[in-house]
């Protein structure tokens, strides 16, 4: 059975279209990461799952029921961690969870849930005095009431420190192991990488990509980026750019000071270096960058990925790429030779 099924869903607020013609299916038992930059329409989509917002067009079905007509029955089997919520300042943490237990007609032990999210020591305090992270944990405890079949978590890590975010992921993982379907949104891809079976990327209200994280990486990673530091008097001359551009498999060449940034197919690297040396250009140093998750995300959310051309996007430009993906090719014989020449 499908846990979530959106067909041709569109939502307009006045003359602003928040979600356009969205088709999305989440299978039962799946962990689905719903990604996109702020303002992409993630929260609107989640609000439609919960019947807080009604679609302008299309159908939203959750756990086999119509979200607009059968919201109460859906939420009886769904745990929700909303985004931008507030707590009841004068009620204690335990009273919040007790209220959720009563509302869901469940028989959970509030203390066990509070312990699970690490709030048991503060259970008797008024929630009005809780920090943002504690409120987030409290709402998670309320969401876990009644062993829900579906967990809908809107930006679950917001307000949590790295340790808290890790605990959140572990709880999500345990719920998934229990058999629950998990649907959560985030604007940070790194958070979803570890736990998601599948991710969907939303941009301007449209789903621009949907795959496993590996699948997305492959789709974008068919190309690699070379950064070549060029020595000699001419630096990155027009001749050097022309020489590289002529190489088979090179899709793009940019100049960055004395360096060349080359987008090329896997395996074209040695031909690029050879072409430069044939043209009499000194190659001082070079290295390869692999697309990081950050680049991947930016490629889909900022570039032209919606047109099926992610590789032309900003994959090559993310700063984050340099730290985790720099592949040290500087010790190849050619480059070593180049270094010697520069030294002379």
């Amino acid at each position: 059975m499908t846990a979530i099924e959106l067909r041709g869903v569109r939502k307009e607020f006045g003359d602003v279209t928040a979600v356009r013609d969205l088709d999305l299916t989440v299978q039962e038992g799946e962990v689905y990461g719903f990604l996109g930059p702020n303002g992409a329409g993630k929260s609107t989509t989640i609000d439609m799952l919960l019947d807080l917002v009604r679609p302008t067009a299309g159908t939203v079905r959750v756990l086999g029921r119509d979200a607009t007509g059968d919201g109460v029955a859906i939420r009886r089997r769904t745990g929700v961690l909303p985004d931008g919520f507030a707590v009841y300042d004068r009620l204690s943490g335990r009273e919040h969870v007790e209220f959720a237990v009563r509302s869901k007609e469940a028989d959970d032990d509030p203390d066990a849930l509070l312990e699970r999210v690490g709030l048991l020591d503060d259970a008797d305090r008024k929630a009005g005095g809780y920090s943002k992270g504690m409120r987030q944990r409290l709402a998670l405890a309320m969401a876990l009431v009644g062993e829900p079949d579906l967990l809908v978590l809107d930006e679950p890590s917001s307000g949590l420190d790295p340790a808290g975010a890790k605990e959140m992921r572990e709880i999500v993982q345990r719920e998934a192991d229990r058999g629950a379907t998990v649907f959560f949104s985030s604007h940070i891809l790194e958070q979803v990488d570890a736990v998601c079976d599948r991710v969907g990327i939303l941009r301007d209200g449209e789903l621009v990509a949907e795959d496993s994280v590996e699948g997305l990486r492959e789709a974008v990673g068919g190309e690699e980026t070379l950064e070549i530091a060029v020595g000699g008097a001419d630096g990155a001359s027009d001749a050097a750019v022309e020489a590289v551009r002529a190489v088979d498999g090179v899709s793009r060449v940019d100049r960055d000071g004395d360096a060349l940034v080359v987008s090329c197919a896997d395996g074209a690297k040695t031909r690029v270096i050879a072409a430069l040396e044939d043209a009499g250009v000194d190659v001082a140093d070079f290295h390869t960058r692999e697309a990081s998750l950050e680049d991947l995300f930016l490629a889909y959310t900022e570039g032209d990925a919606a047109d099926g051309d992610a590789t032309e996007g900003k994959v090559a430009e993310g700063d984050a790429a340099e730290d985790d993906a720099a592949e040290d090719d500087g010790t190849t014989p050619d480059a070593a030779a180049a270094d010697e020449e520069v030294a002379e």
Binding site: L50, R54, R75, D83, A86, Y88
Partner: protein
């Protein structure tokens, strides 16, 4: 139905506000002041519980202060949660929007009733002790308690009107304007507004098989504060739902029921259609 869960949570939340304690203290103080003012001064003069309630407590306290307090308690019931975001937490649980609106009416109505009872009972205890020790000649506990029920009823009616307005309002600001309007209309300007209405509608009323006087009476009885006045006076006179004003009492009671149910329904109708 999860209405009971919402009502209980809202009740707990409301009775813990500092305003509630202030309210109980205020009611107690005012009733005590009135009781002191009309205390028997000479031999043979009786302390009349009915006199205290009918001519002091009701006009000065019940029909002006109770509606004000009810509007203050009710106006932000739904809109306040909507603006703060706690409504998201509430509606992430399996509650319908009707449960939310009517749960709020019940929860806050109960909180106000508790405040009214607590505020009236403290002075009552003092009066009862005085009656026992001969400080005052007599204190009619039955009249006093019965009257307190009417005061609470009036409070619940105004809570219902204010919650309905709160459910319909998309922002706190609008809810506040609505709340103030409710108070001004029902407590301060009802006579003037309905008088204007009758003047303007004279041409419409004439062909109908009712006299202008009947319409005037109906409009007067339609105001919940007047409704409670009619019923509580009948009660204190030992003529509740009896005697020559029985028809008027029935109209008044019907209007009180109408004002308790209709505004929340209208508010729900708007609230249910809104994107939150």
């Amino acid at each position: 139905m999860t209405l009971a869960a919402i009502a209980e949570k809202d009740f707990q939340d409301a009775v813990r506000s500092r305003g509630m304690i202030a309210l109980v203290a205020l009611f107690s103080l005012l009733v005590a002041v009135f009781a002191f003012v009309i205390r028997p001064t000479g031999q043979g003069e009786q302390f009349a519980t009915e006199l205290l309630l009918r001519f002091f407590v009701r006009p000065f306290l019940v029909t002006t202060l109770v509606p004000l307090v009810a509007v203050v308690i009710g106006y932000n019931a739904v809109s306040g949660e909507r603006e703060s975001g706690s409504l998201k937490l509430l509606l992430s649980l399996p509650h319908s929007r009707a449960d939310v609106v009517f749960g709020k009416v019940v929860g806050r109505g109960a909180a106000l009733s508790i405040a009214v009872f607590a505020g009236f009972l403290l002075p009552a205890a003092v009066l009862a002790v005085l009656a026992q020790t001969g400080g005052i000649a007599a204190f009619n506990v039955g009249s006093y308690l019965g009257f307190t029920v009417f005061a609470a009823v009036l409070g619940v009616v105004f809570v219902a009107i204010a919650v309905g307005c709160s459910a319909a309002a998309s922002t706190q600001r609008r809810a506040l304007i609505g709340g103030v309007s409710i108070y001004v209309l029902f407590v301060l300007l009802w006579g003037a507004v309905t008088g204007q209405f009758l003047g303007a509608a004279g041409g419409i009323v004439d062909p109908l098989p009712v006299s202008t006087e009947q319409v005037r009476t109906f409009l007067r009885v339609s105001n919940p504060t007047t409704g409670v006045e009619i019923l509580s006076n009948a009660f204190l006179g030992g003529q509740l739902f009896a005697g020559e004003t029985v028809n008027r009492q029935i109209s008044a009671a019907s209007m009180l029921v109408f004002w308790t149910v209709a505004p929340p329904l209208v508010g729900l109708w708007k609230f249910d259609a809104d994107d939150l």
